[in-house]
Protein backbone atom coordinates (compact mmCIF):
# COMPACT_ATOMS: atom_id res chain seq x y z
CA UNK A 1 0.00 0.00 0.00
CA UNK A 2 1.44 3.37 -1.00
CA UNK A 3 1.78 6.06 1.67
CA UNK A 4 -0.69 9.00 1.56
CA UNK A 5 0.49 11.91 -0.62
CA UNK A 6 2.46 14.56 1.21
CA UNK A 7 0.64 17.92 1.52
CA UNK A 8 1.99 20.31 -1.13
CA UNK A 9 3.41 23.77 -0.64
CA UNK A 10 0.71 26.44 -0.55
CA UNK A 11 1.10 30.06 -1.64
CA UNK A 12 -0.21 32.63 0.78
CA UNK A 13 -2.08 35.67 -0.64
CA UNK A 14 0.96 37.89 -0.07
CA UNK A 15 3.10 35.90 -2.54
CA UNK A 16 1.04 36.61 -5.70
CA UNK A 17 0.70 40.21 -4.53
CA UNK A 18 4.48 40.64 -4.37
CA UNK A 19 4.88 38.93 -7.74
CA UNK A 20 2.28 41.24 -9.29
CA UNK A 21 3.95 44.36 -7.89
CA UNK A 22 7.36 43.07 -9.02
CA UNK A 23 6.03 42.42 -12.53
CA UNK A 24 4.48 45.89 -12.68
CA UNK A 25 7.79 47.44 -11.63
CA UNK A 26 9.61 45.42 -14.28
CA UNK A 27 7.26 46.63 -16.98
CA UNK A 28 7.60 50.21 -15.71
CA UNK A 29 11.40 49.89 -15.90
CA UNK A 30 11.31 48.64 -19.49
CA UNK A 31 8.76 51.24 -20.60
CA UNK A 32 10.48 54.22 -18.96
CA UNK A 33 13.99 52.85 -19.64
CA UNK A 34 14.77 53.46 -15.98
CA UNK A 35 16.49 50.62 -14.09
CA UNK A 36 15.51 51.90 -10.61
CA UNK A 37 12.03 50.24 -10.52
CA UNK A 38 13.65 47.07 -11.80
CA UNK A 39 16.03 46.99 -8.83
CA UNK A 40 13.14 47.47 -6.44
CA UNK A 41 11.11 44.75 -8.16
CA UNK A 42 13.90 42.16 -8.19
CA UNK A 43 13.68 41.21 -4.46
CA UNK A 44 9.89 41.15 -4.68
CA UNK A 45 9.98 38.73 -7.59
CA UNK A 46 12.51 36.42 -6.03
CA UNK A 47 11.27 36.36 -2.43
CA UNK A 48 8.36 33.89 -2.92
CA UNK A 49 10.58 31.48 -4.83
CA UNK A 50 13.32 31.80 -2.22
CA UNK A 51 10.80 31.14 0.56
CA UNK A 52 9.70 27.95 -1.17
CA UNK A 53 13.27 26.79 -1.66
CA UNK A 54 14.53 27.69 1.83
CA UNK A 55 11.68 25.95 3.66
CA UNK A 56 11.12 22.22 4.15
CA UNK A 57 10.94 20.43 0.80
CA UNK A 58 8.31 17.96 1.94
CA UNK A 59 5.68 17.86 4.67
CA UNK A 60 7.70 18.26 7.89
CA UNK A 61 7.12 15.50 10.47
CA UNK A 62 6.15 16.73 13.93
CA UNK A 63 5.33 14.92 17.15
CA UNK A 64 2.07 16.04 18.69
CA UNK A 65 1.27 15.11 22.30
CA UNK A 66 -2.26 15.91 23.40
CA UNK A 67 -4.10 15.52 26.66
CA UNK A 68 -7.42 16.62 28.05
CA UNK A 69 -7.67 17.96 31.60
CA UNK A 70 -10.41 19.50 33.71
CA UNK A 71 -13.50 18.21 35.42
CA UNK A 72 -17.23 18.81 35.25
CA UNK A 73 -18.01 21.31 32.57
CA UNK A 74 -14.40 22.46 32.20
CA UNK A 75 -12.41 21.01 29.34
CA UNK A 76 -8.77 22.00 29.00
CA UNK A 77 -6.83 20.78 26.00
CA UNK A 78 -3.06 20.88 26.42
CA UNK A 79 -0.66 20.00 23.68
CA UNK A 80 2.97 20.01 22.71
CA UNK A 81 4.30 20.02 19.17
CA UNK A 82 7.93 18.97 18.86
CA UNK A 83 9.78 19.47 15.62
CA UNK A 84 12.26 17.21 13.90
CA UNK A 85 14.97 17.73 11.27
CA UNK A 86 16.05 21.06 12.74
CA UNK A 87 12.84 22.86 11.91
CA UNK A 88 12.28 25.97 14.02
CA UNK A 89 9.12 25.53 16.08
CA UNK A 90 8.61 29.31 16.09
CA UNK A 91 7.61 29.05 12.44
CA UNK A 92 4.81 26.61 13.26
CA UNK A 93 1.18 27.53 13.54
CA UNK A 94 -1.36 25.35 15.31
CA UNK A 95 -5.04 25.46 14.46
CA UNK A 96 -7.22 23.76 17.06
CA UNK A 97 -10.70 22.77 15.93
CA UNK A 98 -13.29 23.05 18.68
CA UNK A 99 -15.89 20.27 18.77
CA UNK A 100 -19.38 21.69 18.13
CA UNK A 101 -20.74 20.57 21.51
CA UNK A 102 -18.12 22.58 23.44
CA UNK A 103 -17.90 26.34 23.88
CA UNK A 104 -14.81 28.50 23.90
CA UNK A 105 -13.92 29.87 27.34
CA UNK A 106 -10.68 31.68 26.49
CA UNK A 107 -8.31 32.25 23.60
CA UNK A 108 -5.72 29.58 22.91
CA UNK A 109 -2.41 30.32 24.62
CA UNK A 110 0.90 29.49 22.99
CA UNK A 111 4.35 29.10 24.46
CA UNK A 112 7.03 28.84 21.81
CA UNK A 113 10.66 27.80 21.88
CA UNK A 114 12.98 26.87 18.99
CA UNK A 115 12.35 23.16 19.51
CA UNK A 116 8.78 22.90 20.73
CA UNK A 117 5.48 24.71 20.78
CA UNK A 118 3.12 24.30 23.71
CA UNK A 119 -0.48 25.34 23.59
CA UNK A 120 -3.45 25.32 25.89
CA UNK A 121 -7.05 26.01 25.10
CA UNK A 122 -10.00 26.21 27.50
CA UNK A 123 -13.49 25.12 26.58
CA UNK A 124 -16.65 24.52 28.55
CA UNK A 125 -19.23 21.79 28.13
CA UNK A 126 -22.68 23.35 28.68
CA UNK A 127 -24.22 19.87 28.83
CA UNK A 128 -22.97 16.31 29.30
CA UNK A 129 -21.22 15.28 26.12
CA UNK A 130 -19.02 12.84 24.27
CA UNK A 131 -16.92 14.95 21.95
CA UNK A 132 -14.11 13.93 19.65
CA UNK A 133 -11.22 16.39 19.57
CA UNK A 134 -9.41 16.16 16.25
CA UNK A 135 -5.64 16.37 16.08
CA UNK A 136 -4.82 20.07 15.59
CA UNK A 137 -3.61 21.13 12.17
CA UNK A 138 0.07 22.08 12.31
CA UNK A 139 1.34 24.40 9.59
CA UNK A 140 4.85 25.51 8.82
CA UNK A 141 4.81 29.08 7.53
CA UNK A 142 7.88 31.00 6.40
CA UNK A 143 8.67 34.08 8.54
CA UNK A 144 7.56 36.47 5.78
CA UNK A 145 4.20 34.72 5.46
CA UNK A 146 4.60 33.93 1.75
CA UNK A 147 4.34 30.12 1.70
CA UNK A 148 3.10 27.43 4.05
CA UNK A 149 3.11 23.68 4.24
CA UNK A 150 1.05 21.34 6.41
CA UNK A 151 3.04 19.18 8.80
CA UNK A 152 2.29 15.50 9.36
CA UNK A 153 1.95 13.81 12.73
CA UNK A 154 0.90 10.39 13.93
CA UNK A 155 -1.24 11.66 16.81
CA UNK A 156 -4.75 10.25 17.22
CA UNK A 157 -7.93 12.15 18.08
CA UNK A 158 -8.96 12.36 21.72
CA UNK A 159 -12.38 11.72 23.16
CA UNK A 160 -13.77 14.06 25.80
CA UNK A 161 -16.48 12.58 27.98
CA UNK A 162 -18.38 14.62 30.51
CA UNK A 163 -21.30 13.19 32.44
CA UNK A 164 -23.02 13.80 35.79
CA UNK A 165 -20.66 12.94 38.66
CA UNK A 166 -23.33 11.13 40.71
CA UNK A 167 -22.97 8.15 38.41
CA UNK A 168 -19.64 7.41 40.07
CA UNK A 169 -21.39 6.44 43.34
CA UNK A 170 -23.85 4.07 41.75
CA UNK A 171 -21.80 1.10 42.99
CA UNK A 172 -24.20 -0.41 45.54
CA UNK A 173 -27.05 -0.94 43.10
CA UNK A 174 -28.59 -4.40 43.23
CA UNK A 175 -28.77 -5.83 39.74
CA UNK A 176 -30.43 -9.07 38.72
CA UNK A 177 -28.24 -11.82 37.32
CA UNK A 178 -29.55 -13.25 34.13
CA UNK A 179 -27.44 -16.38 33.65
CA UNK A 180 -29.44 -19.62 33.46
CA UNK A 181 -28.02 -21.02 36.72
CA UNK A 182 -27.03 -18.09 38.89
CA UNK A 183 -25.46 -20.21 41.61
CA UNK A 184 -22.91 -21.64 39.22
CA UNK A 185 -21.56 -18.38 37.91
CA UNK A 186 -17.80 -18.19 38.00
CA UNK A 187 -16.21 -15.31 39.78
CA UNK A 188 -14.93 -12.67 37.42
CA UNK A 189 -12.33 -11.59 39.90
CA UNK A 190 -9.06 -13.37 40.33
CA UNK A 191 -8.54 -14.88 43.76
CA UNK A 192 -10.78 -14.96 46.77
CA UNK A 193 -12.62 -11.71 46.25
CA UNK A 194 -15.98 -13.42 45.79
CA UNK A 195 -18.02 -15.85 47.86
CA UNK A 196 -16.72 -19.43 48.05
CA UNK A 197 -18.88 -21.68 45.86
CA UNK A 198 -17.18 -25.08 45.77
CA UNK A 199 -14.22 -27.20 44.74
CA UNK A 200 -13.55 -28.46 41.26
CA UNK A 201 -10.76 -30.11 39.30
CA UNK A 202 -7.93 -27.69 38.71
CA UNK A 203 -7.31 -26.45 35.21
CA UNK A 204 -3.88 -25.65 33.75
CA UNK A 205 -4.66 -21.92 33.68
CA UNK A 206 -5.67 -21.68 37.35
CA UNK A 207 -3.39 -19.35 39.32
CA UNK A 208 -1.58 -20.93 42.32
CA UNK A 209 -3.69 -18.86 44.72
CA UNK A 210 -6.81 -20.57 43.48
CA UNK A 211 -5.50 -24.14 44.05
CA UNK A 212 -6.86 -25.66 47.25
CA UNK A 213 -3.66 -27.32 48.46
CA UNK A 214 -5.21 -29.13 51.42
CA UNK A 215 -7.97 -30.66 49.29
CA UNK A 216 -5.37 -31.53 46.63
CA UNK A 217 -3.26 -33.33 49.23
CA UNK A 218 -6.27 -35.21 50.55
CA UNK A 219 -7.64 -36.21 47.16
CA UNK A 220 -4.31 -36.84 45.47
CA UNK A 221 -5.31 -34.83 42.41
CA UNK A 222 -5.17 -31.09 41.77
CA UNK A 223 -8.29 -29.31 42.98
CA UNK A 224 -9.11 -25.61 42.88
CA UNK A 225 -11.53 -23.34 44.69
CA UNK A 226 -14.36 -21.77 42.76
CA UNK A 227 -15.89 -18.43 43.75
CA UNK A 228 -19.02 -16.53 42.99
CA UNK A 229 -19.34 -12.85 43.12
CA UNK A 230 -22.64 -11.69 44.55
CA UNK A 231 -22.10 -8.08 43.69
CA UNK A 232 -22.12 -8.40 39.96
CA UNK A 233 -25.21 -8.35 37.83
CA UNK A 234 -26.33 -7.40 34.39
CA UNK A 235 -27.80 -4.23 32.98
CA UNK A 236 -29.07 -3.16 29.60
CA UNK A 237 -28.86 0.47 28.55
CA UNK A 238 -31.35 1.21 25.82
CA UNK A 239 -31.48 4.51 23.96
CA UNK A 240 -34.54 5.59 22.05
CA UNK A 241 -33.05 7.26 18.97
CA UNK A 242 -36.26 7.79 17.05
CA UNK A 243 -37.25 11.28 15.86
CA UNK A 244 -39.78 13.13 18.00
CA UNK A 245 -42.12 16.06 17.63
CA UNK A 246 -39.48 18.34 19.18
CA UNK A 247 -37.70 18.69 15.85
CA UNK A 248 -34.31 17.66 14.59
CA UNK A 249 -32.25 20.30 16.42
CA UNK A 250 -33.62 19.60 19.90
CA UNK A 251 -33.63 15.86 19.24
CA UNK A 252 -29.94 15.97 18.30
CA UNK A 253 -29.10 17.96 21.41
CA UNK A 254 -30.99 15.62 23.73
CA UNK A 255 -29.47 12.64 21.97
CA UNK A 256 -25.96 14.01 22.59
CA UNK A 257 -26.78 14.41 26.30
CA UNK A 258 -28.22 10.91 26.46
CA UNK A 259 -25.16 9.37 24.81
CA UNK A 260 -22.90 10.97 27.43
CA UNK A 261 -25.12 9.80 30.30
CA UNK A 262 -25.28 6.30 28.83
CA UNK A 263 -21.50 6.15 28.69
CA UNK A 264 -21.31 7.36 32.30
CA UNK A 265 -23.78 4.71 33.36
CA UNK A 266 -21.87 2.00 31.50
CA UNK A 267 -18.60 3.22 33.05
CA UNK A 268 -20.04 3.02 36.54
CA UNK A 269 -21.41 -0.50 36.19
CA UNK A 270 -18.36 -1.78 34.36
CA UNK A 271 -16.20 -0.49 37.20
CA UNK A 272 -18.00 -2.89 39.59
CA UNK A 273 -17.54 -5.78 37.13
CA UNK A 274 -21.17 -5.87 36.09
CA UNK A 275 -22.04 -7.01 32.62
CA UNK A 276 -23.41 -4.17 30.51
CA UNK A 277 -25.30 -4.35 27.24
CA UNK A 278 -26.24 -1.48 24.98
CA UNK A 279 -29.06 -1.01 22.53
CA UNK A 280 -29.72 1.98 20.30
CA UNK A 281 -33.18 1.90 18.79
CA UNK A 282 -33.69 4.00 15.71
CA UNK A 283 -35.24 2.27 12.75
CA UNK A 284 -33.80 -0.99 14.06
CA UNK A 285 -32.12 -2.04 17.29
CA UNK A 286 -28.32 -1.87 17.17
CA UNK A 287 -26.87 -3.80 20.07
CA UNK A 288 -23.63 -4.33 21.93
CA UNK A 289 -24.05 -7.69 23.70
CA UNK A 290 -23.61 -8.16 27.44
CA UNK A 291 -20.04 -8.28 28.56
CA UNK A 292 -17.65 -6.67 30.99
CA UNK A 293 -14.07 -5.42 31.18
CA UNK A 294 -12.02 -2.59 29.74
CA UNK A 295 -12.32 -3.76 26.17
CA UNK A 296 -16.06 -3.76 26.53
CA UNK A 297 -15.92 -0.17 27.76
CA UNK A 298 -14.13 0.80 24.53
CA UNK A 299 -16.71 -1.18 22.56
CA UNK A 300 -19.56 0.73 24.19
CA UNK A 301 -17.83 4.09 23.81
CA UNK A 302 -17.23 3.45 20.12
CA UNK A 303 -20.84 2.37 19.61
CA UNK A 304 -22.11 5.48 21.38
CA UNK A 305 -19.81 7.77 19.40
CA UNK A 306 -21.07 6.27 16.15
CA UNK A 307 -24.72 6.23 17.19
CA UNK A 308 -26.91 8.72 15.43
CA UNK A 309 -30.48 9.84 15.54
CA UNK A 310 -32.71 7.93 13.17
CA UNK A 311 -34.71 9.76 10.53
CA UNK A 312 -37.39 7.07 10.50
CA UNK A 313 -39.67 6.28 13.42
CA UNK A 314 -40.05 2.55 13.91
CA UNK A 315 -42.83 0.81 15.91
CA UNK A 316 -41.95 0.35 19.57
CA UNK A 317 -42.73 -3.35 19.50
CA UNK A 318 -39.86 -3.92 17.08
CA UNK A 319 -37.48 -2.75 19.79
CA UNK A 320 -38.87 -5.22 22.33
CA UNK A 321 -38.80 -8.12 19.88
CA UNK A 322 -35.21 -7.37 18.91
CA UNK A 323 -34.18 -6.95 22.55
CA UNK A 324 -35.68 -10.33 23.39
CA UNK A 325 -33.58 -11.91 20.63
CA UNK A 326 -30.33 -10.29 21.80
CA UNK A 327 -30.65 -10.25 25.58
CA UNK A 328 -31.94 -12.63 28.26
CA UNK A 329 -35.17 -11.77 30.03
CA UNK A 330 -35.05 -10.43 33.56
CA UNK A 331 -32.33 -8.01 32.59
CA UNK A 332 -32.55 -4.69 34.42
CA UNK A 333 -33.11 -2.17 31.63
CA UNK A 334 -32.56 1.57 31.71
CA UNK A 335 -34.40 3.23 28.85
CA UNK A 336 -33.35 6.72 27.77
CA UNK A 337 -36.28 8.43 26.13
CA UNK A 338 -37.37 12.07 25.95
CA UNK A 339 -41.04 10.96 26.05
CA UNK A 340 -41.82 13.68 23.54
CA UNK A 341 -43.89 11.37 21.36
CA UNK A 342 -47.31 9.88 21.88
CA UNK A 343 -47.54 7.46 24.86
CA UNK A 344 -48.48 4.70 22.39
CA UNK A 345 -44.94 4.95 21.00
CA UNK A 346 -43.23 4.26 24.35
CA UNK A 347 -40.98 1.22 24.31
CA UNK A 348 -41.23 0.48 28.06
CA UNK A 349 -44.64 -1.34 28.02
CA UNK A 350 -43.45 -3.64 25.25
CA UNK A 351 -40.19 -4.36 27.03
CA UNK A 352 -42.02 -5.11 30.28
CA UNK A 353 -44.35 -7.54 28.56
CA UNK A 354 -41.33 -9.41 27.25
CA UNK A 355 -39.82 -9.75 30.69
CA UNK A 356 -37.46 -6.78 31.02
CA UNK A 357 -37.78 -4.77 34.26
CA UNK A 358 -37.58 -1.21 32.99
CA UNK A 359 -36.56 2.12 34.49
CA UNK A 360 -37.10 5.10 32.21
CA UNK A 361 -34.68 7.99 32.47
CA UNK A 362 -36.24 10.81 30.52
CA UNK A 363 -34.14 13.90 29.65
CA UNK A 364 -36.53 16.80 29.77
CA UNK A 365 -36.49 19.10 26.74
CA UNK A 366 -37.74 22.05 28.84
CA UNK A 367 -34.30 23.49 29.81
CA UNK A 368 -33.23 23.70 26.17
CA UNK A 369 -36.48 24.87 24.62
CA UNK A 370 -35.88 28.13 22.76
CA UNK A 371 -37.62 31.17 24.24
CA UNK A 372 -39.89 32.92 21.77
CA UNK A 373 -39.60 36.69 21.78
CA UNK A 374 -43.11 37.20 20.39
CA UNK A 375 -44.78 36.75 23.78
CA UNK A 376 -44.84 39.23 26.63
CA UNK A 377 -43.12 38.29 29.88
CA UNK A 378 -46.44 37.37 31.49
CA UNK A 379 -47.53 35.24 28.56
CA UNK A 380 -44.11 33.67 28.45
CA UNK A 381 -44.43 32.68 32.10
CA UNK A 382 -47.88 31.24 31.44
CA UNK A 383 -46.63 29.27 28.44
CA UNK A 384 -43.77 27.90 30.52
CA UNK A 385 -46.18 26.79 33.25
CA UNK A 386 -48.41 25.04 30.73
CA UNK A 387 -45.41 23.32 29.18
CA UNK A 388 -44.28 22.13 32.61
CA UNK A 389 -47.76 20.77 33.34
CA UNK A 390 -47.88 18.94 30.02
CA UNK A 391 -44.50 17.45 30.73
CA UNK A 392 -45.51 16.39 34.25
CA UNK A 393 -48.63 14.75 32.87
CA UNK A 394 -46.58 12.91 30.26
CA UNK A 395 -44.15 11.61 32.88
CA UNK A 396 -47.07 10.54 35.07
CA UNK A 397 -48.52 8.54 32.20
CA UNK A 398 -45.19 6.88 31.59
CA UNK A 399 -45.03 5.97 35.32
CA UNK A 400 -48.09 3.76 34.84
CA UNK A 401 -45.94 1.40 32.81
CA UNK A 402 -42.53 1.77 34.39
CA UNK A 403 -40.71 3.90 36.98
CA UNK A 404 -39.85 7.13 35.19
CA UNK A 405 -37.37 9.76 36.28
CA UNK A 406 -37.74 13.24 34.87
CA UNK A 407 -34.19 14.43 34.20
CA UNK A 408 -34.25 18.21 33.95
CA UNK A 409 -30.88 19.13 35.45
CA UNK A 410 -28.47 17.62 33.00
CA UNK A 411 -25.46 17.86 35.33
CA UNK A 412 -27.17 15.91 38.10
CA UNK A 413 -28.44 12.35 38.11
CA UNK A 414 -28.85 12.16 41.90
CA UNK A 415 -32.57 11.41 41.62
CA UNK A 416 -31.90 8.50 39.30
CA UNK A 417 -29.03 7.13 41.38
CA UNK A 418 -31.14 7.29 44.56
CA UNK A 419 -33.93 5.45 42.82
CA UNK A 420 -31.85 2.60 41.41
CA UNK A 421 -30.02 2.17 44.71
CA UNK A 422 -33.25 1.09 46.39
CA UNK A 423 -33.22 -2.62 47.29
CA UNK A 424 -35.10 -3.88 44.29
CA UNK A 425 -36.25 -2.32 41.09
CA UNK A 426 -39.81 -3.00 40.17
CA UNK A 427 -39.92 -6.36 38.42
CA UNK A 428 -41.54 -7.11 35.13
CA UNK A 429 -45.28 -7.49 35.24
Amino acid sequence: MSPPPSPALRWRPLAPFLLAVGAALLIAAVVTRNPVPLFLGLPLLLAPVAAGVAGPRSAPPVRVDLRVEGSGGEVRLEGRVATERGLDARDLLVEVARPPSLREAADTQFDRSPTALRFRTDWTAPEPTIAEVDVPTVLWRDPMGLVEREAVSNAVPLVVTRYPPELLRIGAVHLERTTPLPGETHSRRVGESGEFHGIRLARPDDPPRQINWRATARAGRPLANEYDLDKTGDILILIDARPTSLGRVLDERLFAIVRAAALGLADSFLSIKARVGLGVFGEFLDVVPLSTGRTHRIRIETALRRAHLSSVSAPAERCAVAARRSFPTGLTTVVFSSLANDPADDVSPYLRRRGFPVVVLSPSPLPILPVTSLLSAKDEELAARITRLVRRNRVARAWQEAPTIDWDNYWSLGQFVDFVRRPRIRRAG
Partner: protein, 175 residues
Amino acid sequence: MTPSPPPRRELPSVRPVSLALLLVSAGFLGYLSGFPGGFGILLALTGVAVALVLRMSPSREVAAYAPVPVLAVLALEAATAPVGFGTELLAGLAGLSFLAWLADDPARPAGGALRALPTLSLPALALGIAWSSALFLPPGAVPLGVAGGLLALTLIAVALLVGSPTVFDREEARS
Protein backbone atom coordinates in the same frame (compact mmCIF):
# COMPACT_ATOMS: atom_id res chain seq x y z
CA MET B 1 -19.15 40.50 44.11
CA THR B 2 -17.82 43.02 41.65
CA PRO B 3 -17.20 41.75 38.16
CA SER B 4 -13.54 41.58 37.25
CA PRO B 5 -12.58 43.84 34.35
CA PRO B 6 -11.73 42.11 31.08
CA PRO B 7 -7.99 41.61 30.58
CA ARG B 8 -6.36 44.33 28.49
CA ARG B 9 -5.14 43.22 25.14
CA GLU B 10 -1.40 43.68 24.95
CA LEU B 11 -0.16 45.90 22.16
CA PRO B 12 2.16 44.02 19.83
CA SER B 13 5.77 45.11 19.69
CA VAL B 14 6.68 47.33 16.74
CA ARG B 15 9.99 45.44 16.19
CA PRO B 16 12.01 48.69 15.87
CA VAL B 17 15.13 47.46 14.03
CA SER B 18 13.47 46.34 10.80
CA LEU B 19 11.09 49.30 11.00
CA ALA B 20 14.00 51.75 11.26
CA LEU B 21 15.75 50.04 8.37
CA LEU B 22 12.64 50.38 6.22
CA LEU B 23 12.10 53.97 7.28
CA VAL B 24 15.68 54.99 6.48
CA SER B 25 15.83 53.27 3.09
CA ALA B 26 12.37 54.49 2.03
CA GLY B 27 13.15 58.02 3.25
CA PHE B 28 16.48 58.11 1.44
CA LEU B 29 14.86 56.79 -1.75
CA GLY B 30 12.23 59.50 -1.32
CA TYR B 31 15.02 62.07 -0.96
CA LEU B 32 16.66 60.84 -4.20
CA SER B 33 13.36 60.58 -6.07
CA GLY B 34 12.20 63.34 -8.34
CA PHE B 35 9.70 64.88 -5.93
CA PRO B 36 10.46 68.53 -5.12
CA GLY B 37 10.75 70.15 -1.70
CA GLY B 38 11.23 67.09 0.44
CA PHE B 39 7.85 65.73 -0.60
CA GLY B 40 9.47 62.38 -1.31
CA ILE B 41 10.61 62.02 2.31
CA LEU B 42 7.18 63.05 3.56
CA LEU B 43 5.59 60.48 1.26
CA ALA B 44 7.89 57.76 2.59
CA LEU B 45 7.15 58.69 6.20
CA THR B 46 3.42 58.71 5.56
CA GLY B 47 3.50 55.32 3.84
CA VAL B 48 5.47 53.69 6.64
CA ALA B 49 3.30 55.33 9.32
CA VAL B 50 0.08 54.09 7.70
CA ALA B 51 1.57 50.61 7.39
CA LEU B 52 2.55 50.69 11.05
CA VAL B 53 -0.95 51.71 12.12
CA LEU B 54 -2.49 48.95 10.02
CA ARG B 55 -0.09 46.38 11.41
CA MET B 56 -0.78 47.34 15.01
CA SER B 57 -4.51 46.95 14.48
CA PRO B 58 -6.06 44.28 16.71
CA SER B 59 -7.91 42.87 13.70
CA ARG B 60 -5.86 40.35 11.72
CA GLU B 61 -7.89 41.11 8.59
CA VAL B 62 -6.90 44.79 8.73
CA ALA B 63 -3.29 44.01 9.63
CA ALA B 64 -2.98 41.85 6.51
CA TYR B 65 -3.18 45.03 4.38
CA ALA B 66 -0.17 46.66 6.07
CA PRO B 67 2.31 45.94 3.20
CA VAL B 68 0.12 47.75 0.65
CA PRO B 69 0.88 51.42 1.54
CA VAL B 70 4.62 50.77 1.91
CA LEU B 71 4.83 49.02 -1.43
CA ALA B 72 2.77 51.72 -3.12
CA VAL B 73 5.05 54.47 -1.79
CA LEU B 74 8.22 52.58 -2.70
CA ALA B 75 6.93 51.89 -6.23
CA LEU B 76 5.98 55.55 -6.68
CA GLU B 77 9.38 56.75 -5.52
CA ALA B 78 11.26 54.22 -7.66
CA ALA B 79 9.25 55.07 -10.76
CA THR B 80 10.02 58.77 -10.44
CA ALA B 81 13.65 58.44 -9.29
CA PRO B 82 16.25 59.55 -11.85
CA VAL B 83 19.03 57.18 -12.86
CA GLY B 84 21.99 57.69 -10.58
CA PHE B 85 25.09 55.94 -9.28
CA GLY B 86 23.57 54.67 -6.06
CA THR B 87 19.85 55.08 -6.68
CA GLU B 88 19.45 51.57 -8.14
CA LEU B 89 21.29 50.05 -5.23
CA LEU B 90 19.19 52.02 -2.78
CA ALA B 91 15.97 50.87 -4.49
CA GLY B 92 17.14 47.27 -4.17
CA LEU B 93 18.04 47.77 -0.52
CA ALA B 94 14.62 49.31 0.08
CA GLY B 95 13.08 46.15 -1.40
CA LEU B 96 15.21 43.99 0.91
CA SER B 97 14.33 46.12 3.97
CA PHE B 98 10.68 45.76 3.05
CA LEU B 99 11.06 41.96 3.06
CA ALA B 100 12.86 42.07 6.44
CA TRP B 101 10.06 44.24 7.81
CA LEU B 102 7.53 41.70 6.51
CA ALA B 103 9.35 38.95 8.39
CA ASP B 104 9.17 40.93 11.63
CA ASP B 105 5.42 40.53 11.96
CA PRO B 106 4.47 41.36 15.57
CA ALA B 107 1.71 38.75 15.44
CA ARG B 108 4.35 36.04 15.15
CA PRO B 109 7.25 35.07 17.43
CA ALA B 110 10.12 37.54 17.69
CA GLY B 111 13.24 37.08 15.59
CA GLY B 112 11.41 36.62 12.28
CA ALA B 113 13.90 38.74 10.35
CA LEU B 114 16.79 36.64 11.59
CA ARG B 115 14.98 33.41 10.75
CA ALA B 116 14.22 34.80 7.28
CA LEU B 117 17.91 35.36 6.48
CA PRO B 118 18.18 32.20 4.31
CA THR B 119 15.18 33.40 2.32
CA LEU B 120 16.53 36.95 2.07
CA SER B 121 19.96 35.84 0.94
CA LEU B 122 18.74 34.75 -2.50
CA PRO B 123 17.21 38.13 -3.51
CA ALA B 124 20.20 39.88 -1.93
CA LEU B 125 22.63 37.82 -4.04
CA ALA B 126 20.62 38.46 -7.20
CA LEU B 127 20.53 42.16 -6.36
CA GLY B 128 24.31 42.26 -5.91
CA ILE B 129 24.89 40.55 -9.25
CA ALA B 130 22.42 42.85 -11.01
CA TRP B 131 23.92 45.97 -9.50
CA SER B 132 27.51 45.03 -10.27
CA SER B 133 26.48 44.13 -13.83
CA ALA B 134 24.76 47.47 -14.23
CA LEU B 135 27.82 49.21 -12.83
CA PHE B 136 30.40 47.53 -14.99
CA LEU B 137 28.54 46.81 -18.24
CA PRO B 138 28.78 49.56 -20.92
CA PRO B 139 25.68 51.75 -21.19
CA GLY B 140 23.38 51.38 -24.17
CA ALA B 141 20.16 49.85 -25.43
CA VAL B 142 21.57 46.35 -26.07
CA PRO B 143 22.48 45.46 -22.45
CA LEU B 144 19.13 46.84 -21.30
CA GLY B 145 17.37 44.69 -23.89
CA VAL B 146 19.30 41.60 -22.78
CA ALA B 147 18.50 42.35 -19.16
CA GLY B 148 14.82 42.87 -20.04
CA GLY B 149 14.72 39.55 -21.91
CA LEU B 150 16.32 37.72 -19.02
CA LEU B 151 13.88 39.23 -16.60
CA ALA B 152 10.94 38.29 -18.82
CA LEU B 153 12.21 34.71 -18.84
CA THR B 154 12.53 34.88 -15.05
CA LEU B 155 8.92 36.05 -14.82
CA ILE B 156 7.73 33.14 -16.94
CA ALA B 157 9.72 30.73 -14.76
CA VAL B 158 8.26 32.26 -11.61
CA ALA B 159 4.75 32.02 -13.05
CA LEU B 160 5.32 28.32 -13.80
CA LEU B 161 6.61 27.73 -10.29
CA VAL B 162 3.64 29.48 -8.76
CA GLY B 163 1.32 27.37 -10.87
CA SER B 164 2.82 24.08 -9.68
CA PRO B 165 4.06 24.29 -6.08
CA THR B 166 4.96 20.57 -6.09
CA VAL B 167 8.15 21.57 -7.92
CA PHE B 168 9.52 22.42 -4.49
CA ASP B 169 8.74 18.99 -3.09
CA ARG B 170 11.52 16.55 -2.55
CA GLU B 171 10.90 12.83 -2.18
CA GLU B 172 12.09 11.48 1.17
CA ALA B 173 14.71 8.73 1.05
CA ARG B 174 13.31 5.46 2.35
CA SER B 175 15.47 3.22 4.44
